[in-house]
Symmetry: D2
Subunit: 201 residues, 4 copies
Amino acid sequence: MPILLTGFAPFDGEHINPSWEAVRGFDGREIAGHRIDVQRLPVEFHTAREHLREALLARRYAAVLCIGQAGGRSSISLERVAINLADARMADNANYQPQMQPLIAGAPNAYFAPCRLESALAALHAASIPAEISLSAGSFVCNDVFFGLCHFHATEQASLRGTFVHIPYAPQQVLQRPLPSMPIEMVQRAIEVLIEGLAAE
Amino acid sequence: MPILLTGFAPFDGEHINPSWEAVRGFDGREIAGHRIDVQRLPVEFHTAREHLREALLARRYAAVLCIGQAGGRSSISLERVAINLADARMADNANYQPQMQPLIAGAPNAYFAPCRLESALAALHAASIPAEISLSAGSFVCNDVFFGLCHFHATEQASLRGTFVHIPYAPQQVLQRPLPSMPIEMVQRAIEVLIEGLAAE
Amino acid sequence: MPILLTGFAPFDGEHINPSWEAVRGFDGREIAGHRIDVQRLPVEFHTAREHLREALLARRYAAVLCIGQAGGRSSISLERVAINLADARMADNANYQPQMQPLIAGAPNAYFAPCRLESALAALHAASIPAEISLSAGSFVCNDVFFGLCHFHATEQASLRGTFVHIPYAPQQVLQRPLPSMPIEMVQRAIEVLIEGLAAE
Amino acid sequence: MPILLTGFAPFDGEHINPSWEAVRGFDGREIAGHRIDVQRLPVEFHTAREHLREALLARRYAAVLCIGQAGGRSSISLERVAINLADARMADNANYQPQMQPLIAGAPNAYFAPCRLESALAALHAASIPAEISLSAGSFVCNDVFFGLCHFHATEQASLRGTFVHIPYAPQQVLQRPLPSMPIEMVQRAIEVLIEGLAAE
């Protein structure tokens, strides 16, 4: 079975999204015996989650790894908690800015990531990649996709492994501001390590 | 004429110093027609500066580029100002901790870096490397070496170009703490860019 | 009906806990027609939550406001999400360090705070007090108490209003380290504003 | 002899300058037997320094304490080093943006603050006020004024004591952004402590 890897379109006035820059080259590659399918998600509430669900329904995946930008963070963030909340401080790319809305009516308040984050963290550290476990993926589109992933796991395909990972800005995004960044090459090594871990679960 | 490139030994309880990890492989390479000589400096007040001076007296260099670790910074820092002050919050590697001492009696209070930092900054940004100009190299051994470099330029060899550059922690130094880092490979690309700039002055 | 206000004992090697310094003087005061009862909770998993529950069972409160230290944050954090997880990076004051344990078996994965955080945020800003809404109270004892508060609301007393608020270090805790802080007097003004808001709901 | 205390006008799009909010109320007060004269300086290169010099020439002061805003810092910064450089990343309030200009031709590259910063730091810490010694006052108008103060001390009135102190944003300036702040009341306590120290030198 293949593994699905997703990134996002640029948003918040940025010219690139490092998640897409990092994942685009993986399409068609084989890692740990699994073919990698890559998909770019729009930064739009609901629509992004629907695109993910359609991809997960179109063929059966062994695992899914969703990547998103978390500008200002300095390390790879393995997200533990997806919350049933859309609450945006800025509009998404479709100019929609929900306030305190549930993502999926009737779904639980939160899900925990359906994979082993501790071993993933250890594997990243063993590869000398700064990484941490995060307890909040925010309440914007990244969390929406993450919640959708967990809900699909909980209600439609319990065997699916997967998680959501936030990455720092790429270096070219912080040239004029004193913020942490991580080269795309290092993010790509992190993705390989994470896919190998998902494949081994 | 060759170009001198220096890094430091580890200090402050660290197992590596990213400045040494970045520069060690440059020894004997040729960049922009200049042979690169590499030297490792001890993290010891006075002694580090003397080692640098001996190297600069042993043969005539076109330029000198000194690299040091500035843990916690997120980008390449091109240092503008060296101050005539030794004032240490911790002991150096020889267990010496000076408080409010001048580095060189009779020397000016400060020197400005003897090279064009604006063009160096632009070249780093053109290479998508996060970089900034810094107005303080501290008052520890890095500043001591930088002040010595500037003093040598001012009193012994006015044609010498050079500067001091602070670099972030390496990724393997921040695995357990939420601090910015920069891969050694990116630091090495920065050093190539900076050496090409010094060679062109 | 009175309002319950809690703070914590010192932990993590600190000599004080700013939450306790801020709340201790409120005991017996009357704000917006409500008497304030103050209680100090131990920094111990399970025990802290049990103490809170006993207090809430001993008499009927109109609202409860729990305060805890979040060292490193720069503003008042109104916590939105309590998660059903105990996962500690250090031992609590009873030398217990749970890893990936549910707090209450059979309870939901998460609760949202049972009060209006938006109006509380606006009231704090109107009083010129730096404040933000936070989506993670961590997975240490603070979150344990917050989860207990929400669970009590959900299962035993639906009329109870309340929330958990993280506060920065006090100034005297950061004299030797470059971290944000907030004077106890400003935290106390924030608590008054928050209690007035809870009383008005 | 009186003591001169200065603050600045707002700049950088801010509605207030916390330095002026902190100092304005001191005018005419007596501290440690010295009358306090307060002056507001414009955020304009050269002009601010000239205003300071005119005040110092108009009457003989025992000491001068200049306060300026350093947005983003978390503690009181006692500035150690004034550099002979005007290099601005944004225009001043007179729309002047110098690049790499000396402030005073023929003056030294730098001055060290003409007062005892260590005892000032200890006194602030004894008062539980977060404070640190800083080695860079930047290269904008604050540094210009600080350099002018030091140059006046060096060339016109060697008995004058004084220094430049950077302060954090006021709380009302950071309500919408996650930056450190310090209440004006705490800054005012710091100013009293610093004036008492200057008076005792």
